[in-house]
């Protein structure tokens, strides 16, 4: 048998390889189109992700300078190429046109053709989405009062992002991106996702609280149409007025044919007011509490526990001082988060630390695992509170 002859016989392709009968042989040959075929690549993935691919719900995302990630509607996976030193011969199914081999008329061997030798396979590892970049992108040009009242037309769209722009730039799934936008209280204005400038948010909340007093509205039954109408009259665009309701209120009744009803969210309002007070710098706790209580609207009570993850207290001599230290300003990757936490404070009690680490998510690692990995836990006596320090 001369093995260098061009490929002969019936072409069977992958089916012939996988369905080879006992006591029989097939020939494996280079395909007539054998070559590097760099446009062909292999991706190993979990069976459960297969339907997502078949229903076109999977995308690869990333900038040219980043490693690509694969996103399903809800999850993000790092894509890593795993090379092999083995010879992996890739065999496509037979070309339907050239098939049709008459068993009786020839004793030629069935042939399966190798289209390329693959250097390796891409594999997936679930990762936490890189939403910090979202904050960075949206913080470049927060929406300000000045922009809201300025004449349309001259606005530059540089540094502003539509949904599709964000999808292009962020290594996160749609669901994670939506969640990220919500957690930043971002709002879509003229097709662009924006965060509102702090001052502007203060202004509109102050105005809302003022209007509530002025009109003698109940903070538990705010009529959407009325609120939006009044805020519009105060000079706020309609979509911003609605956004304000979403940020500081909870919907209590979905209006069908009538206006929806909202209720002021005590915690969110109180936290916002506290942040506003502490924006200028640290303050003695008594002074802060006094100012805070005075700002809080009637029917709400400010409670220091609301400020978990927003404010830290430190003792200076005999006095306790409070200052802003917001979990939302911290990076979402555990290593960077813990590094900043231990720079802020070398030792943490659990009750102080917990609000700053509870939203950390690392696929495949429990919160205990996270603490073990990034902190050193000491407990001087069995009764005392455990203390966490840097590893």
């Amino acid at each position: 048998m001369d093995t260098i002859l061009p490929q002969i016989g019936c072409s069977g392709g992958a089916e012939a390889v996988l369905g080879i009968q006992p006591n029989s042989s097939i020939s494996i040959a280079y395909h007539s189109l054998f070559g590097p075929h760099n446009d062909l690549m292999l991706l190993e993935l979990d069976e459960k992700l297969l339907p997502e691919v078949l229903h076109q719900r999977v995308t690869l995302r990333g900038q040219p300078d980043e490693d690509a990630v694969l996103c399903t509607p809800s999850k993000t996976y790092a894509v890593k190429f795993v090379g092999t030193s083995n010879s992996v011969l890739l065999i496509p199914p037979s070309d339907k046109a050239s098939q049709g081999c008459n068993k009786e008329n020839d004793d030629k061997m069935m042939v399966a053709s190798v289209i390329k030798v693959v250097p390796g396979c891409m594999e997936l590892v679930e990762v936490a989405p890189k939403v910090d970049k979202l904050k960075l992108l949206l913080s470049q040009y927060p929406y300000t009062f000045g922009e809201a009242v300025s004449e349309e037309g001259e606005k530059t769209k540089m540094g502003l992002y539509r949904w599709d722009d964000l999808v292009d730039r962020l290594q996160a799934s749609d669901e994670e991106l939506r969640f990220g936008l919500k957690s930043l209280s971002a709002v879509e204005i003229d097709g662009y996702w924006r965060i509102l400038d702090d001052k502007y948010m203060n202004m509109i909340l102050d105005m809302l609280l003022h209007d509530i007093i002025l009109n003698d509205w109940s903070i538990n039954a705010l009529n959407e149409d009325e609120i939006v109408g009044v805020l519009e009259a105060d000079g706020f665009p309609r979509n911003i007025a609605k956004h304000c309701l979403q940020v500081y209120c909870d919907k209590v009744d979905e209006g069908v044919g009538v206006s929806s009803m909202w209720k002021l969210d005590e915690r969110r309002v109180c936290v916002h007011l506290a942040r506003d007070i502490l924006n200028g710098g640290k303050m003695k706790i008594e002074v802060f509490i006094e100012k805070w209580r005075r700002k809080v609207p009637d029917g709400m009570s400010a409670n220091f526990e609301m400020l978990e993850g927003e404010v830290l207290m430190e003792k200076l001599g005999m006095e306790s001082w409070v200052y802003l230290f917001s979990v939302s300003s911290l990076p979402s990757t555990p290593a960077e988060r813990f590094s900043i936490l231990f720079k802020e404070r070398p030792k943490w009690e659990w009750k102080d630390l917990q609000p700053y680490v509870r939203n950390l998510r690392v696929p495949g690692l429990s919160s205990e695992g996270l603490l073990l990995k990034y902190t050193r836990r000491t407990q001087p006596t069995a009764e005392s509170e455990p203390v966490f320090s840097a590893r």
Binding site: A29, H31, V53, L54, Q56, R61, T84, S87, C121
Partner: protein, 142 residues
């Protein structure tokens, strides 16, 4: 960058591809190096009803088995599409969009983990095999 991964075959119709994997490198004789197309590599044989296989390449024989993959492997083909609204931004950005089309799925491979074994040692025979398998025994198969 935002690349859609899809399958145009229709539900459940994506064809199965196959992999034959062996240790080391399959080399053709230098004279054939640049024109491998349609050359035979070897003969794959299933000697019994078991999922055990031999692969004969030239005067070497490999022994292997059929393996079901724990996770399926997709065969993706990169497809360049012309961008409809390439004027946008007016820049020199690449005007082509890329999609990855799933053109096949791999669920099984025939894996030869053994080093090749010489079939014939007789010096009289003129070797006609133009491919030889050179094994690297220290590597564990992937």
């Amino acid at each position: 960058m935002h690349i859609q991964v899809k399958c145009s075959c229709g539900e459940g119709n994506c064809p199965e591809w196959a992999i034959v994997e062996l240790q080391g490198v399959v080399e053709a004789q230098p004279s054939f190096e640049n024109r491998l197309q349609s050359l035979q590599i070897g003969v794959l044989c299933r000697p019994s009803s078991q999922e055990s296989y031999t692969f004969t390449i030239g005067y070497h024989e490999l022994i292997g088995t059929k393996v079901s993959l724990k996770k399926p492997i997709l065969v993706l083909k990169k497809i360049k599409l012309r961008n409809e609204d390439e004027e946008e931004d007016g820049g020199d950005v690449d005007a082509t969009r890329v999609e990855l089309d799933m053109i096949g799925i791999i669920r099984h491979k025939i894996l030869f983990k053994t080093r090749p074994k010489a079939l014939i040692s007789s010096k009289g025979a003129q070797p006609s095999a133009k491919e030889k398998a050179s094994a690297s025994s220290s590597k564990t198969p992937h």
